[in-house]
């Protein structure tokens, strides 16, 4: 290969620090030094023959992964070393120090020939993988049969499992996390992996083993919708508790003023009305185990006025104060779980209120298996209307079979099969990546299923729950581990018919927290223009938004006003009283005002 540089430059963390005569032997020397402990194990070095350069990396933030060192076609991890390891005479760090194991970064991997297993080792091999599962990260390794899925789906499955509800901490009822989701009756997956079992994550399970049928259900599970069994839901399937923390602090302000926790006086500015404070106890804080609905105040607080002048104002006898209470936002409700009073480092009082609310699966809640197969509940069907098998088994969830072939998530099918076999034989099934072959596995599970009187391939004769008629085709039923994801409709649902408007433009507010509307944008506007629906367009953009009656002077075209005392219309420019009321967009009136502010006088000429 043509060498670009005659000198072999050495780069340390991307900077040239010198050059060496022969890059390859230099790299070998450093590597040997690393294995013997002369050079730090955190140093990675690579020789790039195409550039004839040596890159030495010692900086932070490199992704590194351990490998077994192979020299002259022999793995340095010998069998008696493995034995010692098993007897716990030596540990991982011992092997690391001895140069049996070393960490490679992405760049040094370019110089290595890694064998997948001991029998693949040749003379050219430089390293050996510990285990094939180590090419995946932790989350992917908790997914069973990932090697049967398409790569994007594995990644999706991994990210869904991070959004799942489970038992994230066993002391959740003592914690004050800003939000917490706890799944009722969490289960360890029947089909799990070696990493799942050894990592201890099994003590924090985050899902349940669902009986899943691959079938359609009267069109209710089209396009990633799923159908749930109401009987199963009533028995606790996918049920979870949502914890939310509301907290407030008694702040101090310059000038000696401070907030006070108490039931606000009716004279306070921004008083929400007597009924809102009804659930507060004497100290202005709600009591545990009280139920609270939207609008109910949890923490009553009186704050000093925003501007200093207001308080000094009238005689200074009674200070005018402002209500700054914490209340449940529209759409929120729950039961007060716990109240904590504490102190901040600057010695101010802090109140934290934890509100819990039960979340029973309902239409619009999101579920996902570990194979990137997510779905939204579209229907919760009474158990008697669900399809049932010859044994009377009713699935918990009906998944549309169209979800599988286009996404290439065959691991999902294997998991269902293995889960079913495991459930019937009372054993956990193993789905660790790269262990065993698919046809062997299928026949193994098939044998187990046959022993228990089920179909070899997981298919069963099923009957329509509504008509009682048998289905023409056999339905694939299995047990799959499903996660309930924390995206729930009850936290997202929002409607608006009337509501707050922005001060400047008089147009409706935006966003859920402000009870806002959904924006009817420019492209949506174009659609109505395209249809020629002129009155609908006017209704959307004017009447349902910022319509304002404006008085326009017939004489000079300026905007005037109505003098309620004299009961006449007045034009402030020409002084005339011949004005015409026009309905226009408040934003347009604002535009005219702003144009006036840049010394341009627009006149409105009205035609009748």
């Amino acid at each position: 290969m043509a060498q670009i540089n005659k000198k072999c430059y050495v780069y340390l963390n991307g900077r040239i620090i010198g050059y060496v005569a022969d890059g390859e032997t230099f790299v070998k020397e450093i590597r040997n030094g690393r294995r013997t402990g002369i050079v730090s194990g955190e140093v990675n070095i690579v020789y790039l023959p195409r550039l004839n350069a040596v890159h030495v990396n010692t900086d932070a933030g490199r992704v590194r992964k351990p490998y077994v060192v192979v020299e002259n076609g022999v793995s340095k991890l010998t069998s008696d070393m493995v034995e010692k390891l098993n007897n716990k005479e030596v540990d991982f760090n011992y092997l690391l120090r001895r140069g049996v194991i070393e960490y490679l970064d992405v760049e040094e991997e370019e110089n290595s020939a890694v064998a997948m297993s001991e029998k693949d080792i040749t003379q050219a091999t430089t390293h050996l993988e510990f285990d094939l599962t180590s090419i995946f990260g932790f989350t992917v390794n908790t997914v069973p049969f990932p090697e049967y899925n398409s790569a994007p789906r594995i990644g999706m499955g991994a990210s869904f499992s991070k959004q799942s509800e489970g038992l994230y901490q066993t002391n959740f009822n003592r914690r004050f996390d800003s939000r917490g989701y706890i799944l009722y009756y969490p289960q360890v997956p029947i089909v799990n992996t070696s990493v799942y079992r050894t990592s201890g994550i099994a003590s924090h399970p985050s899902g349940q083993n669902f009986i899943v049928a691959l079938s359609s259900y009267y069109g209710y599970n089209m396009q990633d919708a799923v159908v749930l069994n109401k009987g199963a839901v009533d028995r606790g399937l996918g049920r979870s508790m949502f914890y939310k923390i509301y907290s407030d602090e008694e702040r101090r302000y310059p000038g000696g003023q401070r907030d006070v926790f108490k039931i606000p006086a009716a004279t306070a500015e921004g008083y929400l009305g007597e009924h809102a404070y009804a659930k507060l106890s004497e100290d202005g804080i709600i009591e545990p185990e009280m139920s609270a609905d939207e609008g109910d105040v949890l923490i009553g607080k009186m704050a000093p006025p925003r501007f200093l002048e207001e308080s000094i104002g009238a005689g200074g006898l009674e200070e005018k104060r402002r209500d700054d209470s914490t209340y449940l936002k529209p759409g929120e409700s729950g039961i007060i779980d716990e109240v904590v009073l504490t102190e901040s480092p600057s010695a101010t009082k802090i109140v934290k209120v934890r509100v819990r609310s039960l979340r029973v699966p309902e239409n619009g809640d999101k579920f996902a298996s570990r194979h990137g197969q997510k779905g939204v509940v579209a229907l919760v069907v009474p158990q008697e209307d669900m399809p049932f098998s010859e044994n009377g088994i009713v699935p918990d969830l009906i998944l549309n079979p169209h979800s599988i072939p286009s996404r290439l998530t065959f691991g999902h099918l294997l998991e269902e099969l293995a889960g079913k076999a495991g459930a019937l034989s009372g054993k956990m099934a193993d789905g660790t990546a790269f262990t065993g072959k698919s046809d062997e596995r299928i026949s193994e599970y098939g044998k187990l299923l046959k022993e228990h009187g089920f179909g070899e391939f997981g298919t069963e004769q099923m009957y329509d729950g509504i008509t009682g008629e048998p289905f023409h085709a056999n339905i694939f039923v299995g047990v799959a581990y499903y996660n309930r994801l924390y995206h729930m409709v009850s936290n997202k649902l929002q409607v608006r018919a009337r509501g707050p408007v922005q001060i400047l433009t008089h147009q409706p507010t935006e966003g859920k927290s402000r009870q806002g509307g959904l924006r009817f944008g420019e492209m949506e506007r174009d659609v109505l223009v395209g249809y020629g629906a002129s009155l609908l367009l006017k209704e959307r953009l004017l009447e349902q938004s910022d319509m304002a009656p404006v008085l326009v002077c017939n004489k000079c075209g300026n905007i005037g006003y109505h003098d309620y005392i004299k009961r006449v219309d007045v034009c402030p420019i020409c002084g005339g009283s011949d004005l015409q009321e026009v309905k226009m967009s408040y934003a347009f009136k604002l535009l005219i005002d702003e144009i006036k502010s840049i010394h341009i006088f627009p006149r409105i000429r009205l035609k009748s």
Binding site: G532, S534, L542, I600, F601
Partner: protein, 348 residues
């Protein structure tokens, strides 16, 4: 029959422009995504800009396409003979010294410029080193010598600056074909079997006078060139054709009428106007519509300075003010004759 025919006629007040814009714009969003996995067969689409960049080029009315080319079809008496067509190509095909030689070597003490012609490149043309040398000599007005593939031009001066300038000049000399015509190759139409010429530039005005060229069938993708040579009507048709070709290449099904409307809107003024600030949108009648698009303050200030009156007839300004738009169901209005109104007698 007549009624059925009328059913397909567009209704008065139908916002055809918006519909055309949406019909072209919506599949246009898919074009961006598709561009990346475009394998490409060996056709013109490989050499020419296609897809979204080309659409932007057309709609923005760029003065010259980024990959100009032209098809030169030939008259009946020559079109079926490869030799005759190749003869014409030889006359058109623009070859510069820089195509033949990689670089020049200047000798300032002797006042000479040497250029070594690449024999492999030279072989693909019908030129000889001697022929090139004499052409250089003629064009530069200097004596030349040839030694194998090396051409030495003896400059009349030993001035360093002049030799350097001469060297650049020498490299840009056209030693074959028509200057500005671009590279030309012979192609065969697989359907009719006739031969035609494909050139890598759009200067069809230079090619038109050549004998044997069919002037009625010459074509280029340069809309402005067509406008210069053949006029607006041709430019409008060329624009529509280019748009159509583009959509077909991308396998986007857009009705021709939408593309024709776009081409019409861009050319109806007699020139080629782009869609945007300096073209269609920037020349709207309404002050508010222009101010709502781009450069708000500029339009408002100018309107004030010239005492402009906004007739409030367009869509944008009426939505802005909160009036019913004068399109679709807003096209019609009710007029009552006051005299007739007086005739109505109240019921007793």
């Amino acid at each position: 029959m007549a009624e059925e025919k009328n059913a397909f006629k567009i209704t008065p007040g139908e916002p055809v422009g918006v519909i055309a814009a949406q019909s072209i714009g919506e599949p246009g969003t898919q074009m961006i995504l598709r561009l990346f996995h475009f394998a490409g067969v060996a056709t013109e689409s490989v050499i020419a800009t296609a897809g979204l960049p080309r659409l932007v080029e057309l709609v923005d009315a760029k003065k010259k396409p980024s990959t100009p080319f032209s098809y030169v079809y030939l008259e009946d008496k020559v079109k079926n003979s490869f030799e005759k067509v190749a003869e014409i190509v030889k006359r058109i095909d623009e070859i510069k010294v820089r195509d033949l030689a990689k670089r020049t070597v200047e000798n300032f003490s002797k006042g000479t410029i040497k250029a070594r012609l690449d024999p492999q490149v030279l072989d693909t043309t019908e030129l000889t080193a001697k022929g090139v040398a004499s052409k250089i000599g003629k064009l530069l007005g200097v004596e030349t010598e040839t030694e194998g593939n090396v051409i030495t031009a003896k400059m009349h001066t030993k001035n360093l600056k002049e030799i350097r300038a001469g060297s650049v000049k020498l490299m840009n000399l056209t030693v074959n074909g028509i200057e500005g015509a671009g590279k030309a190759v012979v192609r065969q139409d697989l359907k009719t079997g006739e031969f035609y010429i494909l050139t890598a530039d759009s200067n069809i005005d230079l090619i038109l006078p050549i004998e044997g060229v069919d002037r009625s069938r010459i074509y280029t993708n340069d809309i402005f060139k067509i406008y210069q040579v053949f006029g607006v009507e041709a430019a409008r048709n060329a624009l529509a054709m280019e748009l159509k070709k583009l959509m077909e290449e991308q396998r986007i099904d857009v009705n021709d009428r939408h593309l024709l409307l776009l081409a019409d809107a861009m050319t109806f003024s007699g020139g080629i106007k782009n869609v945007g600030r300096h073209g269609l949108s920037g020349e709207k009648l309404s002050v508010f519509a222009r101010a709502a698009y781009e450069e708000t303050v500029k339009h408002l200030v100018n309107a004030a300075a010239f005492g402009e009156v906004d007739p409030m007839k367009g869509v944008t300004e009426n939505i802005l003010a909160g009036k019913q738009i004068l399109l679709g169901t807003g096209t019609v209005s009710l007029a009552i004759n006051k005299d007739d109104l007086a005739k109505i007698k109240p019921k007793k």
